[in-house]
C-alpha cells in the first residue's frame, strides 16, 4: 500500500521530470536568451542553496529542485522538510538561505527575521497552494456534501452516525448507512491542522469551539502521523473521515467530500476551484511582502474554501551576494508559469495568474 503509493508518486514525479527535462533541453537552452517575457524563469546561476521548512510543500520543492538542477549545471539545492517552525528558526539563524513555511512570519518572528537580513526585511512569498481534502470511507456513498457546520459537528464529536439528520440535510439524495463515524486527525503538529481548524472556526463558529492550532485540540477521534497516516487510517476503517493534503486522498483512492462555501454551494475540490479561493484572498503585506489573508467564507462562485498557502520566506534585501542570483533564479523558476504548471500533478493547485505575476515581480526585485 505504502510502497505502492510512493511508487506511484515517484513514477509521477519521474515522468514529470523526464517530460520537463525533455522540454527544457528543447526549448530553454536555445530559447531562453531570446525569449523576451519569461527569461527570468530560466535564469541559471551556480552554487549551493540550503533551505528548509514546511513539509507540506516538500513534493513541490523536490520537483522544482529536480527540474531546476537539470536545467542549470553546477547547482545544488537542498530542501529539508523539517517543519515550518524549524525552517524559520534556521532562516533566522542564517543556516537556511530561505525558509518554507505554512504560515507567514508572525509578529514576534518578523523582527528577528528582519535582523537576519542585514539591510532589508524578510518577506513572505506565497508559492504553493495546497488544498486540504476532506476524505471519507463509506461504501455506497459517493459525492458526499458537507456544510462547514456539519463538518465542525462531525469533527467535534457531536455527530456520531452517518445517518444523522444534519448529514442527511446536506445530502438529500444519498443513502446514508447507520455506520458510526470515526474521525481521523493529524497526531503531529502541522499547518494542515492549523488551516483546517482555522476554517472550521471561521465558518462554523457556533459548532467549533476549539480554536485554531497546529495541534488537534478537540476531544476524541483517532490521531495519525502525517497526511499519509491519515489517508491510511481512513482507508483502513469503514465509516472513517479525515482531512489531509489533496494528493494523499487522491493516491489512496478515497472519496473526497464537496465542501460548502460562502456562496451557499457545494464545491468540488479541483485545482481550479481551490485557486478561486486564493484569487479572492486579500494581500495583507506591504510592497513585496505578499502575506495573504484567506477568506474561508469566500463568496466566489465555485470556490473550494479549505486551502493552505505555503510561503517562501526570503530577504527582500541583504541575501549574501554569492547566493542571491541562485535564490532569484530558483524562486523565479518556481513562480514561473512553467514551475507552477508542474504542481497540479502533485496534488497542489497553481497560483492564480494575478497572484503569480505579483510573486514573480517580487522575486525579480530581490536584491
Amino acid at each position: 500500500m505504502k510502497l505502492q503509493r510512493h511508487g506511484t508518486l515517484a513514477c509521477l514525479a519521474l515522468t514529470a521530470t523526464l517530460a520537463l527535462s525533455a522540454c527544457g533541453s528543447d526549448n530553454n537552452e536555445p530559447a531562453s536568451p531570446s525569449a523576451s517575457g519569461s527569461s527570468a524563469a530560466a535564469d541559471c546561476a551556480t552554487g549551493t542553496l540550503n533551505a528548509q521548512g514546511s513539509s507540506a510543500q516538500k513534493n513541490a520543492m523536490a520537483e522544482w529542485i529536480k527540474a531546476y538542477q537539470q536545467k542549470c549545471q553546477g547547482v545544488t539545492i537542498n530542501y529539508e522538510p523539517s517543519g515550518s517552525g524549524a525552517g524559520i528558526e534556521a532562516f533566522i539563524a542564517g543556516t537556511a538561505d530561505f525558509a518554507g513555511s505554512d504560515s507567514a512570519l508572525k509578529e514576534d518572528q518578523q523582527p528577528k527575521a528582519d535582523a537576519r537580513c542585514a539591510t532589508g526585511k524578510a518577506v513572505n512569498l506565497p508559492m504553493v497552494i495546497g488544498p486540504v481534502a476532506v476524505a471519507y470511507n463509506l461504501t455506497g456513498v459517493e459525492n458526499l456534501q458537507l456544510k462547514p457546520a456539519t463538518l465542525a459537528k462531525i469533527f467535534a464529536g457531536k455527530i456520531t452516525k452517518w445517518d444523522d439528520a444534519a448529514i442527511k440535510a446536506d445530502n438529500p439524495d444519498a443513502k446514508l448507512p447507520a455506520t458510526a463515524i470515526q474521525t481521523v486527525h493529524r497526531s503531529d503538529s502541522s499547518g494542515t491542522t492549523d488551516n483546517f481548524t482555522d476554517f472550521l472556526g471561521k465558518t462554523a463558529e457556533a459548532d467549533w469551539t476549539f480554536g485554531k492550532a497546529k495541534e488537534w485540540k478537540a476531544p476524541g477521534g483517532t490521531g495519525a502521523k502525517g497526511s499519509d497516516g491519515v489517508a491510511s487510517r481512513v482507508k483502513g476503517a469503514e465509516g472513517a473521515i479525515g482531512y489531509m493534503e489533496w494528493s494523499f486522498a487522491e493516491n489512496a483512492g478515497l472519496g473526497i467530500a464537496k465542501v460548502g462555501n460562502g456562496a451557499g454551494e457545494f464545491a468540488e475540490l479541483t485545482a481550479e476551484s481551490a485557486g478561486k479561493t486564493i484569487q479572492g484572498a486579500a494581500i495583507e503585506g506591504q510592497g513585496n511582502d505578499l502575506k495573504m489573508k484567506i477568506d474561508y467564507n469566500t463568496k466566489e462562485a465555485g470556490a473550494y474554501p479549505i486551502v493552505l498557502v505555503t510561503y517562501e520566506i526570503v530577504c527582500e534585501k541583504g541575501t549574501a551576494a554569492d547566493k542571491l542570483p541562485l535564490v532569484k533564479g530558483f524562486l523565479g523558476y518556481a513562480a514561473s508559469t512553467e514551475g507552477q504548471a508542474e504542481l497540479t500533478e502533485l496534488g497542489y493547485a497553481p497560483l492564480p495568474e494575478t497572484v503569480r505575476t505579483k510573486v514573480e515581480t517580487a522575486v525579480t526585485s530581490l536584491s
Binding site: M1, K2, S55, S82, G83, S84, G85, A86, A180, Q182, S187, D188, S189, S190, G191, A213, K214, E215, K217, T222, G223, A224, K225, G229, S232, R233, G236, A237, A240
Partner: protein, 363 residues
C-alpha cells in the same frame, strides 16, 4: 552479536560496576551472564599475578590499560551528567511557563500563548505499552531461545539464530508502517472479538473504534524486542556448563527437568538482563509507536480502543513545529523518559545482584 558482549565482558571486569551498568548495557548484560563463569575460572589471581611474578611496574602496560579503562568509564559518566544538565537547562524555562500541572494535565499544547502540557498520560502510555510488549514477547523469546539452544539440531539452531538476529536489523519505521497499514486490520478484528466476549474486563471494554490501540502498538513493539531478548538469552543458555546439564540428566531428569533445574537457574540473571535491554528498547521506541498508536492524551487501561501515546512518540509528533517553549517542553518530557529508564535500569541491577548471589551459591 553473540561473541562481542563476552569480550567486552572480560574487558569490563576491571572497570567500576556502576559505569558498566549505565554505559554499555550490552556489555553489562553479558557480564552478568558471564559472572558465574568467572567464578569457575577465577581471574583474580590470574590477572594479578602469582607469587613468583615480579611486582607491577609503576608505568607499565598494566597501569596504562587500567588508566584507559578508567578514562572510558569516567567518560560515560561525564556524558550522562552532561546530557542531564543539558536537558535540565533547556527544560526549566518551559516548565516555568507551563500554566497547567506538568504531572497531571492531559494534553500537550506548549506552543500556545499560554502553554499547557502534562506528562502523566504520556508516561503512563510509555510504561503500559512497554510492559504489555514484554509480557507478550518474553515467553515467546525464551521459548525460541531454549529451542535454539537445547532442542533444535545444531545446524538448524545456528541458521535460525541468524534469522532472528536479522529481525533485529529491520528499521523500526518498517515495523511501524507494517503495523499501520497491514497489521492494524487483523488487530481490529481481534479487538472486536475480545470486546464481544471479554468486554466485561475493563481492559477490553469500550465501544470502539478499535485497531489503532495500545494493543497494536504493544504487539509491534513485542516483535521488535523479540530478537534482542532471544539472542541474548540463547547465548546465556548456551553458556550453561555441560557438567551441570549432564549431572542433571545423570540424576534421571528429563530434558524439561534438566532445563528447569540446570539451565534456567543458571541463566536467570542473563534473562533478566536481556529483558531489561528489551524494555529499554521498548521504552525508547519512537517512530513505530508514533505510526501505530491512535495518539490521545488520556490515562486509560483500555487496551483495544483507538488511542494511547508515549513520550518518545509525542516527541516525534510535536518536534517539527515546536517553538522555543515547545522544544523545552519536549526536552522536559525527555528528561522524564531518562528518569524512567534510569529507574528501570537500577531496579534491574538490584535484582541481578540479589539473584547472582543466589545463583553463585547454587552453582
Amino acid at each position: 552479536m553473540g561473541d562481542i558482549p563476552h569480550r567486552s565482558a572480560n574487558a569490563g571486569t576491571g572497570g567500576s560496576p556502576v559505569t558498566n551498568g549505565y554505559g554499555s548495557p550490552a556489555g553489562a548484560s553479558a557480564r552478568t551472564a558471564e559472572a558465574p563463569v568467572s567464578t569457575r575460572t577465577p581471574d583474580g589471581p590470574g590477572l594479578g599475578g602469582g607469587g613468583a611474578l615480579p611486582r607491577a611496574r609503576r608505568f607499565g602496560a598494566e597501569r596504562a590499560f587500567r588508566g584507559l579503562t578508567l578514562a572510558a568509564g569516567t567518560a560515560v559518566l561525564v556524558v550522562i551528567a552532561a546530557i542531564a544538565v543539558f536537558l535540565i537547562i533547556k527544560a526549566v524555562p518551559a516548565l516555568r511557563a507551563n500554566t497547567e500541572n506538568f504531572w497531571t494535565f492531559e494534553g500537550w499544547f506548549p506552543n500556545d500563548p499560554e502553554p499547557k502540557f502534562g506528562i502523566g498520560a504520556l508516561a503512563f502510555g510509555t510504561v503500559l505499552s512497554s510492559v504489555i510488549a514484554l509480557l507478550l514477547a518474553v515467553p515467546v523469546a525464551l521459548g525460541i531461545a531454549l529451542y535454539l539452544s537445547h532442542y533444535a539440531p545444531r545446524r538448524l539452531g545456528t541458521s535460525l539464530g541468524f534469522l532472528i538476529d536479522l529481525l533485529a536489523a529491520v528499521p523500526s519505521v518498517v515495523f511501524g508502517l507494517w503495523g499501520r497499514d497491514y497489521f492494524s486490520g487483523p488487530v481490529r478484528d481481534f479487538s472486536a472479538w475480545l470486546n464481544t466476549y471479554f468486554g466485561w474486563i475493563p481492559l477490553f471494554g469500550g465501544d470502539g473504534p478499535f485497531g489503532a490501540s495500545i494493543l497494536l502498538g504493544a504487539l509491534v513493539l513485542a516483535i521488535m524486542v523479540l530478537p534482542i531478548i532471544t539472542s541474548l538469552s540463547r547465548e546465556v543458555f548456551l553458556q550453561t556448563p555441560t557438567a551441570n546439564e549432564e549431572a542433571a540428566l545423570a540424576l534421571g531428569a528429563t530434558r524439561w527437568e534438566m532445563l528447569r533445574t540446570a539451565v534456567l537457574p543458571y541463566g536467570r540473571p542473563g534473562i533478566i538482563a536481556a529483558v531489561m535491554l528489551g524494555l529499554g528498547r521498548a521504552l525508547g521506541e519512537t517512530i513505530a509507536l508514533a505510526l501505530t498508536l491512535g495518539i490521545t492524551f488520556n490515562i486509560s487501561f483500555n487496551l483495544i480502543e483507538n488511542g494511547g501515546n508515549t513520550i518518545a512518540a509525542n516527541i516525534a509528533n510535536a518536534f517539527g513545529e515546536a517553538n522555543e517553549t515547545g522544544r523545552g517542553a519536549l526536552i522536559a518530557s525527555g528528561l522524564v523518559l531518562f528518569a524512567i529508564t534510569l529507574i528501570v535500569n537500577i531496579t534491574a541491577r538490584a535484582i541481578i545482584y540479589r539473584r547472582r548471589e543466589f545463583t553463585e551459591s547454587a552453582a
